[in-house]
Amino acid sequence: MRPRLPPAFVAGAREGFRTFLPLSVGLIPWALVTGMTMVSVGFTPLQAMGMNVIVFAGTAQLGTLPLIASGAPLWLIVVTALALNLRFVIFSAAIAQGFRGVGRAGRWFAGHLLTDGVFAACAARMLASEDRHWRLGYYLGPSLWSWLLWQACTLTGVLAAGAIPRDWSLEFMATIALIVLLAPMARVRPMLLAALVGGLAAVLLRGLPLKLGLIAGIVAGIAAGFAAEHRLTAGAAQGERR
């Protein structure tokens, strides 16, 4: 027997889906590239789709694939994934109020499905609604669509990759994908500094044992961005006083 969904949930899901549908097209190249890259580092289709279902995060997958391929230690892979996912802590804190009245299992499920796209497109209207069924529908509708589209297009990429010769260096697509993610961030000055310091520190410190240079780079980048933001806001405050 199928439990009947509250009408407000269905209305919310429909509305959320309509809001997110045009944006979701942007997922398609990502998913295809992620699928092809997983095959290019040597995963079988089963391993690739296994990672895709377990992790369900393009950035964390693309970011850790080069490390997995080069045989990096497990703790480094996990710490890198955590660093790439820290933004979700902030998104999660920002959207948490939208789940008041939802049980613990529902919250875990909703949390697992949280993506940049749905957060960016749907958080504001979700938080503004007073109806908890509508809110949950408005979040889960686009989130489940996003999950389905991601899995289907990644599978397409996995299956298509086998048809492409190895010497085409498809694994470089992962690097391009990370650059595409980085590009809009670098438009903001402190963020650009965080990226430059993080990247150059990782290059200069690459000789450190256990690939600690990567962690050192991330920490240096965060510190540089934070310091630059402080200087900018302090400078602005001083400018106002004058």
């Binding site: 377990i54 497990l74 804190a93 690097t175 650059i179 595409v180 965080a194 150059l200 965060i222 540089a224």
Partner: protein, 108 residues
């Protein structure tokens, strides 16, 4: 431990390192709040981490910093396409085109 088992363990740990941050405050609700300074600092983590992965990949060839290499040129083309065009496919076409084109020209 077999390679196969190790790989699946890796997937599960990356999965945890993804779902726990995502679910963190959604599950905890408003009982816990992150200090504002820490929240601001954490915003820089993705940019720093992405660059720390990308830079060595495009600047280092065979263990040495190599400022002129096909991967760096390809990265430049992809970055330009990402900044200047809205088409989501273009960075991939530009980057892979430059990489494969230069390799072909250099005969490598």
């Amino acid at each position: 431990m077999s390679d196969e088992l190790f790989l699946w363990l890796t997937f599960i740990l990356i999965g945890l390192a993804t779902t726990l941050p995502r679910a963190s405050f959604i599950v905890l609700g408003s009982r816990v709040a992150l200090p504002a300074a820490l929240q601001r600092a954490l915003r820089y983590a993705p940019a720093a981490a992405l660059a720390a992965i990308v830079f060595p990949d495009i600047l280092i060839v065979a263990g040495e910093v190599q400022p002129l290499n096909p991967r760096l040129a390809a990265a430049g083309a992809a970055l330009a396409a990402a900044l200047l065009a809205r088409n989501p496919w273009l960075p991939f076409l530009a980057g892979m085109g430059v990489l494969l084109g230069l390799r072909h020209l250099l005969g490598a």
